[in-house]
Amino acid sequence: MERSRREFLKIAGASAAIGLGAGQVMEAVAAATNHQAAPEAQVAHQPEALKATRWGMVVDTRKIESAEQIEKMVEACHKEHNVPMLEEERHRIKWIWETHFHNAFPSQATDRVSEHLEHILLPVMCNHCENPPCVRACPTKATFKRESDGIVMMDFHRCIGCRFCMAACPYGSRSFNFRDPKPFIPEINKAYPTRMKGVVEKCNFCVERLAVGKLPACVEVSDGILTFGDLNDPESEVSKLLKENYAIRRKTNLGTGPSVYYIV
């Protein structure tokens, strides 16, 4: 039994070498070995990568003066992530967008909001919940929470497009590719993948930038409105801001535990 198996392997190896050519076999083996060093392992070894145990964001609404400030964030984000510019309103993809206080906080809005809050637009995006309902709903684990730092991520290649996550998200933070987005991307950023039709996408807290030591694209252009950091680190800038100021989160009554705070 043992001998015949060894013989089989020999023959199989020989025929593979003949069939493919030894060079190709070596290449295949090399590719397989490379593949084992998964991208995530490489990311972990990046010395300059930014690390945290729970990434979070603070939006200081007091610093918001004009809609242009928010639009700048949207533009930076959508350019970075190859988000298409679709004409049709109902097909639009939004990772971060601007909205009124009473839309961002429908159950918290009162009839007497401060004049400032009433007039400005707030940036809204995925809240990277501690207890994300979208992750619970996904039937393929295509959306998942990275345990190391709490970022809720998407595997665009595993998503079957059932859109259960969109129904589950209480913040409307997810978008679906109702058509092929590629023709509508003004300028493709080769550092980030484009998507295909039929999959869901959303803000990823710029994991790809954190991995190379950069802050999220929106934070960089936010004129100090957005602060990004480790919520679990008491010395981080976000923790300090939250210690000194009163901040609210969207729909906390749902138990999702958003990681995006708004100082009002």
């Binding site: 097909h91 009473h102 998200c169 039709k197 729909k251």
Partner: protein, 394 residues
């Protein structure tokens, strides 16, 4: 037994041709959807499920409704239903075929469908829905086919079927319960976030399923030599009566809780559906029609004289079926998504291609149903003849 489906009248083949034609046209439209994406539908980032998923939800109910003939016969030994259990089971098969097709046409990446099996995720309700729907389809095919074959051979069905038959009864309840759980466990959707959603689904299922079955019985009697029986139809009518009353009662419970508590997250969806919100309300006439149909049907079904009159009963059953279809097939899904989580009102209406594809799926379902019913009815029709031949041969 399949050969019975190959011998039929011109009418039978004509019906198959029409259904096949609709399905064929719809398939071409589906190819277009496959190529372009779901953008050909009226769906949006706010109303991300629509006509397809609503049809799916409604048809899970029709499938579960089949148990209303199986349960009295096998659990209560109500002999009269023995004549028509096969019709309930085959209706469930056809309905489940449509359910699965509706899920398929709704997927953005249908080629990746098997990812649900490759990466099984027990925290997702869709995972369980896949199991219960396929399981119920399997149970109904196996049970229905074997019992019918035994009937054809003039023997008792094999004993190993018994546990499967018993299993199919709670399984029917499970398919609609799990389907309700798809919706009622989502934190941000006030319209669905109610413990009574699953009972409500079941009530409407046990009304719409048997109502369709009554209509099918009347059609079978009209066009074949097999009579499902007056007692059978009348018993089904009583089931429909109780179930539609329960359905309306559960709905009124919803209206009370939302209306009296006046919590906006719950009232806004009902307001949108029945009165319109922020000046938008495409579904308002539909919802009132649905209510009118269901209330009207209750009156016609409760009054013994109108229930016993088969012509009126047929109308009542059509009213129940259409009323429940609007309620679940139009209102329930859209109503849950409007207003959206940011309290904006972005309405949804299915597009032409979307409705065509949906019609195609219905056509496939009725094609399957026609073939299965043809087989069942042929067995029932031939039974007497076959017995006679045997006696002569013997």
């Amino acid at each position: 037994m399949l050969e019975l489906a190959l011998k039929g009248t011109k009418k039978y083949w004509g019906l198959l041709a029409v259904l096949g034609g609709i399905a064929g046209v719809a398939f071409l439209v589906y190819l277009y959807q496959l190529q372009f994406g779901l953008g050909i539908t009226g769906l949006s980032r706010d109303v991300s499920w629509g006509f397809y998923i609503a049809q799916f939800t409604f048809l899970v109910g029709v499938a579960a409704g089949g148990v209303m003939v199986v349960l009295p016969y096998y659990l209560h030994d109500y002999k009269a239903f023995g004549r028509i259990t096969i019709m309930g089971e085959f209706l469930a098969v056809a309905a489940l075929v449509m359910c699965l097709l509706f899920i398929m046409v709704d997927l953005g990446q249908p080629m990746r469908m098997l990812n649900v099996i490759f990466y099984p995720t027990p925290n997702s309700m869709l995972f369980y829905d896949m199991i219960v729907l396929n399981g119920y389809l399997f149970l109904n095919i196996v049970v229905g086919w074997n019992v019918l074959e035994a009937e054809r051979n003039g023997t008792h069905y094999q004993p190993w079927l018994k546990p499967l038959i018993y299993l199919s009864i709670p399984w029917a309840v499970s398919i609609h319960t799990v389907t309700a759980y798809l919706y009622c466990g989502l934190p941000g959707r006030g319209f669905w976030l109610t413990a009574i959603l699953a009972p409500r689904f079941l009530a409407s299922a046990f009304a719409a399923g048997p109502a369709l079955l009554i209509l099918l019985c009347l059609i079978v009697r009209r066009f074949t030599r097999f009579d499902p029986g007056r007692e059978q139809i009348q018993s089904l009518a009583k089931i429909v009566t109780y179930a539609i009353i329960a359905n309306v009662f559960f709905f009124l419970c919803e209206v009370f809780v939302a209306g009296y508590s006046q919590i906006p997250e719950h009232t806004d969806h009902l307001k949108y559906l029945f009165f319109g919100l922020h000046g938008k309300g495409v579904l308002v006439p539909w919802m009132w029609t649905s209510m009118g149909l269901m209330f009207g049907a209750i009156i016609l079904l409760v009054v013994p004289a109108t229930r016993r009159h088969e012509g009126v009963l047929a109308v009542s059953c059509a009213m129940v079926f259409v009323g429940a279809w609007i309620d679940k097939g139009l209102g329930l899904i859209s109503g849950g998504f409007v207003p959206n989580p940011l309290h904006e009102v972005n309405e949804y209406l299915p597009t032409g291609p979307e409705v065509t594809i949906a019609l195609g799926v219905w056509a496939v379902g009725f094609l399957v149903l026609t073939i299965l019913y043809k087989i069942a009815v042929s067995v029932k029709e031939d039974n007497a003849g076959v017995l006679r031949t045997r006696v002569i041969k013997g």
